[in-house]
């Protein structure tokens, strides 16, 4: 699913975002990527999104070598990946239903499929009654659930969540993580970059810890601050 071999990212100012990172995330895994600010989490996420490229090394996601992707191929690569951001990134002029439907419209899905799939995904995230609401009429948790619904409506094999609970209260954060766990239970690979110590500790999933761009720990069923 995700294979990174000695990936290094050196920014123009000489700072290293990642330094010779090698890892493998298999299909169906649930992985937390943790680390303090500047540890390289964001660099890793941005690389997976093909927003930036590694300076050295090879990164293969969903069978695609990201270093070999042309700009025209990037949208098609991104369609095989659901993304959830800390700040939800919903289209403010579209309703919950339209925000989710939008991800299908981009793929050119027929209206019939959109009318069938969107309500079922909204039901999955518990938003069927909010379908006509606009983002500014929703709570933070509801907005993140909308974002989650949009991320999974096309049934991508990989779901990438960048600080998905960062703007949420603890109870709502747990709702979101439970949904991510549900989605993972249906076979989707889930990669979550997070600071949420309690959640990481209680979920007992694989935890990859980054520090100064280097993987300092990679533990199956680990916690946020297990002994190094």
């Amino acid at each position: 699913m995700i294979v990174a071999e000695n990936i290094t990212k050196t920014y123009e100012n000489g700072a290293k975002g990642l330094d010779s990172v090698t890892l493998r995330i298999n299909q169906g895994e649930f992985v937390f990527v943790v680390g303090s600010s500047g540890s390289g989490k964001t660099t890793f996420v941005r690389m997976l999104l093909k927003e930036i490229e590694p300076t050295e090394g090879t990164l293969i996601v969903n069978g695609e070598n990201l270093c070999a992707l042309t700009p025209k191929q990037i949208p098609f690569y991104r369609r095989r990946m659901g993304v959830v951001f800390q700040d939800f990134r919903l289209l403010s002029n579209k309703t919950v239903y339209e925000n989710v439907a939008f991800a299908m419209q981009i793929l050119g899905a027929p209206s019939r499929d959109i009318r069938r799939n969107v309500p079922s995904v909204l039901a999955l995230v518990g938003l069927q009654r909010k379908a006509k609401a606009f983002p500014n009429q929703l709570s933070g948790g509801e907005q993140q659930r909308t974002s989650l619904a949009r991320a999974i409506v096309n049934k991508p094999p990989l779901l990438l969540a960048d600080e998905p609970t960062g703007n949420l209260d603890p109870d709502t954060a747990w709702e979101i993580v439970s949904l991510l766990d549900d989605i993972n239970g249906r076979g989707t690979t889930v990669v979550v970059a997070t600071h949420a110590k309690d959640i990481v500790d209680q979920m007992k999933k694989r935890v990859i810890t980054l520090r100064n761009g280097v993987i300092v720990r990679d533990i199956e069923k680990g916690g946020y601050s297990d002994e190094l």
Binding site: P75, R78, R79, L91, N93, F102, I106
Partner: protein, 304 residues
């Protein structure tokens, strides 16, 4: 492009134009105003140009003939002159006719039927026979003069071109064309700058939206589509306004032109001619400005 995609981008464009209606109105009015001035300039320029063309073709060139020219040589010369490109008509004026015309002119001016100073000249006519030529346009004056000079040894005494008037007309014609071109280009650039900024503001207000679209996997064409259609719609509406306003104004503008220039007896360009050009001009300018502004504004947001 699939029909579904087309419907999507058009509905998104219309929705966005309505949602950002203040920006839309500002863009349309700016473009409409500029194109209105362009339309008015074109109406005036096209008709002045046409009038100058008519003036030029009405001005005759007199080719004075040597007195000893035989009738046979005269016919040969007439054929040679007629064969010169851009010469539309050649009229022979005999010495007697010339005197008759001169007499008529004098009597017109004096409005008297009594004896004139020309009465004693029938037997000693000082006026030469001539050909009076008409040519297509004043632009060919120099060319025709050169060709006539080549025929001088075939019996031409002198060529009276009225060249000063021709040059004056020619210069006026060229100045008019340059001025109208400058107005059209200048206003085109001004409206492009204003529309560009208006659309850029609209696009900047939607950069988050564009950003999200990129992350969800939208292609550049999918993102750009609605913005281009917005540009086209702004261009079409912006072009329609001056056309609708200027159509009923055409006749009053012509009357004004006649009053200001104190000219009579000229034909003007028809509504069909003027508006077939104007519709094309306004639509091409409007759509080009609208679309170019949209594409330029959105380009930098697509690099995510």
């Amino acid at each position: 492009m699939s029909f579904r995609f087309f419907i999507y981008i058009v509905s998104e464009a219309v929705r966005s134009l309505i949602k950002n209606r203040i920006m839309t109105i500002a863009s349309v009015l700016t473009l409409g105003l500029c194109l209105f001035i362009v339309s008015m300039s074109f109406m005036l320029a096209a008709n002045l140009d046409y009038m100058l063309f008519q003036m030029g073709s009405r001005m005759g060139i007199s080719v004075y003939l040597r007195a000893d020219l035989s009738e046979f040589s005269r016919h040969a010369l007439e054929s040679e002159i007629l064969a010169i490109p851009h010469v539309t008509n050649v009229e022979y004026v005999s010495a007697e006719d010339a005197l008759g015309r001169f007499r008529d002119q004098l009597s017109d001016n004096t409005s008297q039927n009594g004896p004139t100073v020309l009465d004693g000249l029938e037997n000693d006519n000082p006026l030469p026979a001539s050909f009076v030529l008409n040519i297509e346009s004043v632009n060919y004056w120099d060319f025709v003069e050169n060709e006539l000079n080549k025929l001088k040894d075939q019996g031409i005494e002198n060529v009276a071109l009225g060249k000063q008037a021709a040059n004056y007309l020619n210069t006026l014609n060229n100045v008019l064309r340059v001025v109208s071109l400058v107005i059209i280009l200048g206003l085109g650039v001004i409206s492009m700058v204003i529309i560009f900024n208006t659309i850029r503001l609209a696009v900047n207000g939607r950069k988050t939206e564009i950003n999200i679209m990129k992350y969800v996997g939208a292609t550049d064409a999918f993102i750009r589509g609605p913005f281009i259609i917005e540009g086209v719609l702004i261009g079409v509406i912006g072009a329609g306004i001056p056309l609708l306003i200027s159509y009923p104004m055409y006749d009053p503008v012509l009357s004004l032109l006649v009053r200001v220039l104190l000219v009579r007896g000229f034909e003007f360009r028809s509504h069909v001619y003027i508006f077939s050009v104007l519709i094309t001009l306004c639509l091409v300018l409007g759509i080009t400005i609208g679309v170019a502004s949209s594409i330029t504004s959105i380009r930098r947001h697509l690099k995510v």
